[in-house]
């Protein structure tokens, strides 16, 4: 059991680390198709990463150690987050490290690190990006936690592995409160991963950037790490959504055949989720920055409604 669990944990880490750019590439490819373009194929992020790796590392004069350590810390934080979420089976040896609340905390840590790194050089765009990122962060964080509280209240635990085990054992039973939580979660996912309608990942106009402005000064392998961290974050958010709202098909025991089936199902779910994300992004327009609080406020209220529904129905 323990050796199998360890193998499973390593498999999951590798899957999150190596597979995340593929998901990001798939979303971009779908967006291209929906926009009537050919697209560069889902493998494009890997090519970009390889290109950035080979490039010279260029750092501004004024950059301190904060700027130079941030990319490594960011990737490390995202890998930790990605390793805690049950992906193939609700067996996660790393689960004692962090429950759902600590997971939100790890994301907050990563956000602070990237905001501080952006302020380090002292350009106008950097500090503007930092304050916008923190604005979205403090609004999205309560909404995300309220979303996570609904399943936590259902399963009387904040441990993600316990929550998922509880949700998978009650087969195809639909909780009305989870429907509210799911819709709030989609909104939080859009905001936290710098997606339309909150931020435009494709923009080249610095003044409208939120997330992109944080990366403006990075180059070479630092930039590659930042991009990779972004991809892992998206994959982790997708994985949380799948684990909470579509957990069926996970292997309960972690047997080899069960894991193979779960991996196949995960690929299907991720593809579908990526397509849905691209569709949402294609259908919506970007919001003005100061409409974002309303957007996230709505997400928060929907999540709170989910909790109230849970108490009213008692399930």
């Amino acid at each position: 059991m323990t050796s199998r669990a360890l193998i499973l944990q390593c498999l999951q880490c590798a899957l999150v680390f190596a597979g995340a750019p593929l998901l990001a590439g798939w979303v971009e490819q779908c967006r291209a198709w929906f926009g009537n373009r050919h697209g560069a194929g889902p493998l494009q992020p890997y090519r970009v990463l390889r290109k950035l790796w080979r490039k010279e590392l260029v750092v501004a004069h004024a950059a301190s150690w904060v700027f130079r350590t941030a990319p490594y810390l960011l990737v490390a934080a995202m890998i930790i987050a990605g390793s805690i979420v049950p992906l193939l089976a609700p067996i996660v040896p790393l689960a004692p490290a962090a429950d759902a609340i600590a997971l939100v905390g790890v994301f907050a840590f990563a956000r602070m690190v990237s905001a501080l790194a952006a302020m380090d050089i002292g350009t106008g765009f950097g500090s503007m990006g930092a304050r916008r990122e923190m604005l979205i962060g403090f609004l999205a964080e309560p909404a995300l936690l309220m979303v996570l509280f609904t399943p936590a209240l259902i399963s009387h635990s904040t441990s993600l592995a316990v929550i998922v085990r509880q949700l998978t054992t009650t087969r195809l039973f639909l909780y009305p409160s989870m429907a509210f939580a799911a819709s709030a979660y989609v909104m939080v996912l859009l905001a936290e991963n710098a997606r339309i309608p909150v931020d435009n990942p494709d923009t080249h106009l610095e003044l409208t950037m939120i997330h992109g402005a944080l990366h403006l000064e990075y180059a070479g392998r630092h930039l590659a790490l930042m991009e990779w961290a972004g991809a892992i974050k998206l994959a982790t958010y997708m994985a949380i959504g799948i684990a909470l709202f579509l957990p069926w098909g996970m292997s309960a025991t972690g047997s080899a055949s069960g894991i193979a089936l779960a991996t196949g199902l995960l690929a299907v779910k991720m593809t579908a989720a990526g397509t849905a994300l691209a569709a949402i992004e294609t259908l919506l327009a970007k919001l003005r920055l100061f409409r974002v609080p309303e957007f996230l406020g709505t997400a928060f209220m929907v999540a709170v409604l989910g909790i109230l529904v849970h108490f009213l129905l008692g399930t």
Binding site: R54, A98, R131, F138
Partner: protein, 674 residues
């Protein structure tokens, strides 16, 4: 002198208090020798260390008490060191140790007369704080409490040539005295309830009596007001953002780190110890008050431009969270849910200890910045990470701790608090069940805002380019200051990484205040992680998180060095291709706070001056003021002035009128007498 020989820890603590008094007296004798005066602070630091050690010893021994033959004829001084006081003794001793060491270095360049004055007042304050924690009757408690109030007042106005300092000091003194009056009334009612005469002032007798609910509620309300004036929750917070900026930095650290916590100690003493049968609505009141205070503090600290004002609003925020924790504890205790009450109490004590350590660190670091640059205004700082590497690195730890992100200490208490909120689902009242988890949302919003504030504080002060030319000459903190900052940063890391060991410190207090069984079982300890069974199953392992962070980053560095060995080249920043770039193009403190001011505009009383489009030298200015100042404090001031005018009408400067007053009073008394 001690009549009844107590157990060791109490004797040590008492001896330390006596030593502080001796040091205060010695400062008078040494008032012309600056080096000896600064050595006094090192002696004070040694005393603080002993005081913390006494607290640690007292945790694992039964509560000890003793009486000193001082005080009133039938009421000798009662002293006691129990588990609750021991937790606060550790907090106070550790924080004071760092602050004393820091002060010894900090006062290097001060005038001798000022060092002498501060040394006397500072050690008197330490002795008074120590006595507040040891007091076991209302008389000693109030003597120590008042000594603490005026000695800290003297420290706040030690820059007394500043009008602002004197005004802030007066506000502090008035607030503290209003609080002290409420406390005297509260102790009076408690004593009357015991029907034991003068002996009823001893806490031991008060613990034995149970007041009827109505009287107990009056005592609770008076106590909440009295201790709230010290702790600084809404609407008694106004003195904090005024007093902290004008006080010398070590004093600000002591105010925020220790003095506010004594208000918390008092509330815990009253609600769970002396009144020991809390009503449910006390908990709800404190919960709501705490959450409102926390939100208020968080929003306002984001809008501040002065480093110390920003930090003092952040203290208000933390006090709010602590009060919410007490509210939750009392609420659970009122419904006899011992396991959850223990959890909430541990969250409260954890948050109290955390805040003492990281806020002292931040205030002391601010002091070093102030010394190095002479500047407290965030808008005139920047880029100090290059000039002050030690302070910058240590304050980064403090900022992460204050922001409440893992694996630092602020997160542990946030985690415990959220867990106790989540457990609150089985009250007999369905409305409470629904409303209490929503409090968790407020806690998370506050935590998110705290991260925003800390990015602003740290980023604008230490990162970026220096905003003023003079900053190029800034120097790092000296040796003594560095040791103090290192101690506190180490404290932050320890509290953050070893939650299971820290929680063990709170078990005796939880056993004393709530229930020994629940205190033993509530949190399962482990070096790597702590696990919660009481309400929910949950784990948090900061050491694993930190280990994984370090391991993955190190692996990435090694792998990338091998796979992508491109050399590093330093260039001018890219900045989106714009090559004109001055330090003034960075965000100012106002700029960084702008989104908060916009999102929470209805909560602020704001004046914004916008330049006209055609102006050649445009000036943008915004001023954020506290609406409570106008809605509450100024009307009270005005009505006090009006009342004193009415009283002045009675004064006629003619002896006949005064004789008439005496005569009328006599007649009235005679009529009423039978």
């Amino acid at each position: 002198m001690i009549t009844q020989v107590g157990h060791d820890p109490l004797d040590i603590a008492l001896a330390v208090c006596a030593m502080w008094l001796v040091l205060a007296a010695a400062s008078l004798a040494l008032s012309h020798r600056p080096r000896a005066l600064r050595a006094l602070f090192v002696g004070g630091a040694a005393g603080s260390f002993l005081f913390a050690a006494a607290g640690l010893l007292a945790l694992f021994a039964p509560a000890t008490h003793t009486t000193l033959p001082l005080g009133l004829p039938q009421l000798a001084f009662h002293l006691r060191l129990d588990a609750l006081a021991a937790v606060f003794a550790i907090l106070f001793g550790f924080t004071a140790l760092a602050i004393s060491l820091y002060t010894a270095g900090y006062l290097r360049h001060e005038q001798t007369a000022r060092i002498a004055r501060m040394a006397g007042q500072y050690h008197l304050l330490l002795a008074a704080i120590g006595l507040v924690l040891l007091a076991d009757d209302a008389y000693v408690f109030l003597i120590a409490w008042e000594t603490m109030a005026w000695s800290s007042y003297l420290l706040i106005i030690s820059d007394d040539h500043m009008v602002l300092a004197r005004r802030a000091g007066l506000l502090y003194l008035i607030t503290e005295h209003m609080g002290a009056i409420a406390l005297m009334l509260a102790f009076g009612i408690l004593q009357a309830g015991t029907h034991a005469g003068l002996a009823g002032y001893a806490f031991g007798v008060m613990r034995e009596t149970t007041l009827p609910p109505a009287l107990a509620s009056v005592v609770f309300a008076l106590g909440l007001f009295g201790f709230g004036a010290k702790a600084g929750f809404l609407p008694l917070h106004a003195w904090l953002p005024e007093a902290h900026p004008v006080a010398p930095s070590p004093v600000s650290a002591l105010l925020s780190g220790v003095l506010l916590k004594l208000g918390i100690y008092g509330i815990l003493l009253f609600t769970l110890e002396l009144l020991h049968a809390p009503l449910w609505w006390w908990g709800v009141l404190m919960l709501v008050l705490g959450l409102v205070t926390a939100l208020f503090g968080a929003i306002y600290s984001a809008a501040q431009n002065d480093m110390k004002r920003l930090l003092s609003y952040s203290s208000i925020e933390n006090i709010g969270l602590i009060l919410a924790g007490i509210g939750l504890t009392v609420l659970f205790q009122a419904y006899h849910m011992a396991a959850l009450a223990t959890l909430a109490l541990m969250a409260t004590l954890y948050q109290t200890l955390n805040h003492a350590v990281f806020k002292s660190l931040l205030f002391l670091g601010t002091g070093s910045v102030l010394h190095a640059t002479g500047e407290r205004n965030l808008g005139k700082l920047g880029g100090l990470i290059h000039r002050m590497p030690w302070v910058a690195a240590l304050l980064l730890i403090g900022s992460f701790a204050a922001a409440g992100v893992p694996p630092f200490n602020g997160f542990v208490s946030e985690w415990l608090l959220l867990q106790s909120f989540l457990g609150a689902t089985s009250f007999p009242q369905p409305y409470l069940n629904m409303a209490v988890p929503l409090g968790a949302a407020a806690v998370v919003l506050v935590a998110g805002l705290a991260a925003y504030v800390m990015v602003k504080f740290y980023g604008i002060t230490f990162l970026g380019q220096p905003r003023e030319a003079a900053l190029k000459n800034a120097h790092d903190a000296g040796f003594g200051e560095r040791i103090a900052l290192l101690l506190l940063a180490g404290g932050c890391l320890f509290l953050g990484l070893f939650p299971a060991w820290t929680v063990d410190l709170f078990r005796p207090a939880a056993a004393q205040l709530i229930d020994p069984g629940a205190a033993r079982d509530t949190l399962e300890g482990h070096v790597l992680f702590c696990r919660l069974h009481a309400a929910t199953h949950a784990d948090y392992g900061p050491l694993i998180v930190l280990g994984a962070l370090a391991l993955v980053s190190a692996a990435l560095v090694l792998i990338l060095r091998r796979l992508a060995p491109a050399p590093l080249r330093r260039v001018a920043p890219w900045n989106g291709g714009h090559d004109t770039r001055t330090a003034r193009m960075q965000d100012t403190a106002e700029g960084f706070g702008q989104p908060i001011r916009q999102v929470f505009a209805p909560f602020f009383r704001m004046q914004i001056q916008r330049p006209a489009p055609a102006e050649t030298a445009p000036v943008y200015a915004s001023r954020v003021e506290d609406p409570l100042w106008y809605a509450l404090y100024l009307p009270i001031t005005r009505s006090v002035c009006r009342m004193s005018e009415w009283v002045a009408l009675l004064r006629r400067r003619r002896i006949a009128i005064y004789l008439l007053y005496a005569f009328v009073t006599l007649i009235i008394l005679l009529v009423l007498a039978p």
